[in-house]
């Protein structure tokens, strides 16, 4: 989705900021995620310099370690007022530690309150749906499951990698491309999720 947003119409003045949550990265706290998003939204040199000076000042205070979360959110909100259209995309919310996730959603809600034009795109496993809906009751949800067409593309690409392509008959190849996509789609509808990720698209 990020690339579709980035590749949109040239005449549209927009900025896309993204973040990929990853449970392997312990430092993915709300402050660091917000910092990563802000980095992508500071476009003008003087803005960057202004924030850098603020950081320096905050660090020089007794016990100061740099910008605090409220500072980052304030600067982020400020940046949003200078940009025409901003899309914030955060992938894999379920990989965010629960305490950080709730803080992050609260901050995004706060940002939207002041910048209602901002668009926020989120992805995650079904177990975080309740949290997202809890913060964004009127938000829109789209369930994602591989379609027959998706599985077929995947299989075609995998079959192309076969080093001994001649060893497979055309009939078998055709059967693979016909039967597996049908079965996968049925599994996604009927079977518990544990059976579906055998073909891994993410």
């Amino acid at each position: 989705m990020i690339d579709d947003l980035c590749d949109g119409p040239l005449e549209e003045d927009r900025k896309v900021a993204m973040f990929y949550c990853d449970y392997n990265q312990q430092e993915q706290t709300a402050i660091n995620i917000m910092g990563a998003i802000l980095k992508q939204l500071l476009v003008r040199e003087e803005e960057v310099e202004g924030v850098r000076k603020e950081f320096q000042k905050a660090k020089e205070k007794v016990g100061g370690r740099g910008l605090r979360l409220p500072d980052i959110v304030r600067i982020l909100k400020q940046a949003l007022t200078t940009l025409p259209r901003v899309f914030i995309c955060i992938d894999a919310l379920d990989e965010c530690l629960h305490e950080h996730l709730l803080e992050l959603l609260e901050l995004l809600k706060d940002i939207l309150r002041e910048s209602p034009k901002t668009r926020i795109f989120l992805t995650g496993r079904p177990q975080v749906e309740a949290e997202v809906k809890g913060y964004f009751a009127t938000g829109v949800t789209v369930p994602i499951s591989p379609k027959t067409h998706d599985v077929k593309i995947y299989l075609e690409k995998e079959l192309e990698k076969d080093p001994e392509r001649g060893a497979m008959s055309d009939d078998l190849r055709a059967d693979i491309l016909r039967i597996i996509p049908e079965k996968i789609s049925e599994m996604c509808v009927e079977a518990p999720p544990i059976l579906t990720p055998r073909i891994t698209l993410d």
Binding site: M1, I2, D3, D4, L5, M18, F19, Y20, E27, Q28, I31, N32, M34, G35, A36, L38, K39, V48, R52, F55, L67, R85, D91, A92, L112, P116, T118, R119, I120, F121, L122, T123, G124, R125, P126, V128, E129, V132, K133, F136, T138, G139, V140, T141, V142, P143, I144, S145, P146, H149, D150, I153, Y154, C188, P193, T196, P197, T200, L201, D202
Partner: protein
């Protein structure tokens, strides 16, 4: 801009772009939900779009 924290998603995004298979998941771009969200229809109430699914269904690799 290290002073804004140690995290950066650019590298991960490049990795996603490289591994993505063209055409997979493009149906999402055709949904009414995506088009309305993308086009800013619905105003602040519809500012958030959440795509959810089980592991391995392709959420991260949506184009």
């Amino acid at each position: 801009m290290k002073w804004l924290g140690p995290l950066n998603s650019r590298g991960r995004h490049q990795d996603v772009r490289t591994k993505r298979m063209d055409g997979v998941g493009n149906w999402v771009l055709e949904t009414k939900e995506w088009r309305e969200w993308r086009g800013n229809e619905g105003g602040a109430d519809k500012a958030v779009l959440f795509c959810y699914g089980h592991p391995g269904v392709g959420k991260t690799y949506l184009r």
